[in-house]
């Protein structure tokens, strides 16, 4: 870890990170704010969900219905929008932290100083992780505060389940970010890296949706890590949270370690 580099990189990226964090938090608060009016119509909405094809509701993580705040927020926010916003973050930032600097050539300056490539890569990974923690923390805190402000009967709110939901999301993004970081540290071309990383991550996402829509291609879910993240099951306590998160964290750690090792041994076109 190189602290000067960490400081500098945070300075360069903090604005972008806050944009994601504020975007996610703002949307979260909006969702909480409209919940009371949705809750009133929960029954007709649930009835509507029942007549919709089961694959459809599963694909968008809405099978738990609108019965409680957690099921509502897991489907509407954690199952769709939050996943998309932070997945974009997980594609973009790791690419900017390594591949972009290599492509532009400014990596040369970092490696001109008495630091090692291993340290540079580790520091850049820490910058990404700091951003992810920032986004997760702000979203979680805003969610909890929002519930207490906008929902009259906040006693029915399960803080534990809500935090589990956020931990599971964090584990997923940690793994996705690791994959993107690995591609970033192997690439000389920023655009190409962005394409590959985006392709893989949104490919995973699409496979997840396809697998859920049709039971016939159910087997597809074994090929995407999004299967390990099931917000609608977490909120009703049906998910194997420890196991899923452990696998996701494991994938992430392996990806980051391999990235750092690969970056140390690689020829750089600087």
């Amino acid at each position: 870890m190189n602290f000067s580099l960490y400081k500098q990189m945070m300075k360069v990226n903090i604005k972008g990170m806050f944009n994601y964090a504020i975007g996610a938090a703002f949307y979260m608060i909006l969702m909480v704010w409209v919940y009371p009016s949705i809750a009133k119509t929960a029954k007709p909405l649930n009835d509507m969900l029942k007549v919709m094809p089961a694959g459809m509701t599963r694909a968008f993580n809405m099978q738990s219905g609108f019965g409680s705040f957690e099921t509502y927020i897991s489907g509407e926010f954690y199952g769709l929008l939050f996943t998309l916003i932070v997945s974009i973050f997980c594609v973009m930032i790791p690419i900017q932290l390594i591949a972009k600097l290599v492509d532009q050539g400014s990596m040369a300056y970092l490696l001109t100083t008495p630091t090692t490539r291993g340290k540079v890569a580790f520091t850049q990974a820490s910058v990404f992780l700091s951003g992810l923690i920032l986004i997760s923390a702000i979203t979680t805190v805003c969610g909890i505060i929002g519930v207490h402000i906008f929902i009259d009967d906040s006693s029915s709110f399960h803080v534990n389940r809500f935090i589990q939901l956020n931990v599971a999301a964090f584990a997923l993004f940690f793994a996705l970010g690791g994959i993107s970081f690995l591609i970033s540290s192997l690439s000389n071309d920023e655009k190409k890296a962005l394409g590959i990383s985006g392709g893989i991550i949104f490919g995973f996402y699409s496979l997840d949706i396809i697998g859920k829509i049709s039971e016939k291609v159910d087997w597809i879910k074994h090929f995407t890590i999004f299967t390990l993240y099931s917000p609608s099951e977490i909120v009703v306590g049906k998910a194997d949270l420890t196991n899923d998160c452990a696998i996701l964290f494991f994938i992430g750690i392996v990806a980051f370690v391999v990235s750092i090792l690969a970056f140390r041994k690689r020829d750089l076109p600087l």
């Binding site: 000067s4 360069v12 040369a108 100083t113 008495p114 630091t115 076109p269």
Partner: protein
Amino acid sequence: MLEVQNLTKKFKSGKGIFNITFSIKRGEVFGFLGPNGAGKSTTIRHIMGFMKPDTGYVKINELDTWKKQGEVKKYIGYLPGEIAFIEGMTGKSFLDFMTEMQGVKDLSKRNELIERLQFDVNTPIRKMSKGMKQKVGIVAAFMHDPEVIILDEPTSGLDPLMQKVFIEMVLEEKAKGKTFLMSSHSFPEIERTCDRAAIIKDGVVIAVKDIHELQSMQRKLFEVIFKNSSDANKFIHSNLQIESHEGNRVRVAIQGNYDQFIEETGKYPVQNIAIYTQSLEEVFMNYYDRSEASR
């Protein structure tokens, strides 16, 4: 001080560098010359430890630049051929960042360099001209007082006045015992600073020469305008190598044989003499042609 031994790196395209060997003594300024695509940058990338050699090694201060990447950088100052800075910084914030990364406490050298190169450090880098960026790069390469300074085309983008200042700076550092490796296209710059130079072509070092030897290889073109065109007619029948002749105007190529040239032109009244110095590129071309012809 800097030793390049049997350095080979072959790329998939079949190009690369092959068996590059040379060494630079402490306090020596070494020129690295060759046309574009000859392998200069690839060699410098190996010296900087950005690439892993297939065979051979580069050592600076007895440290392998690939294996001891971090440690060896304490002794190196580097100016890249194409400078790219981190986005969103001003000259000052970039230099502050580099100072911190290099672990330098004493800012006097840096301030002196900025003073000398005369530029405004507070300008955002994206608004800087090429020459100004080059100055920031030069400051970053010199400010931590490194023992070895590697410069990839250092004066590109600098105006003639600043080129002169730069050459003075190199000579001063040289006098303090600093070692330089400098790739360049500008012959005057190499002439005034370097002790020796390596010529590289197609990934192979074809000669490591003393700079005086290189100078004598340099062919110069003189254009002589005689008062009478009849004199010009007589002049072209001397032993000199005549490039062109038109009326009373003669172009003659001289390579070391200045005495003969003076003697021949002295026989006739002369109206004007103008000189065309060959570029370094042309000197190489001559050199290649000759070394290929002698094979």
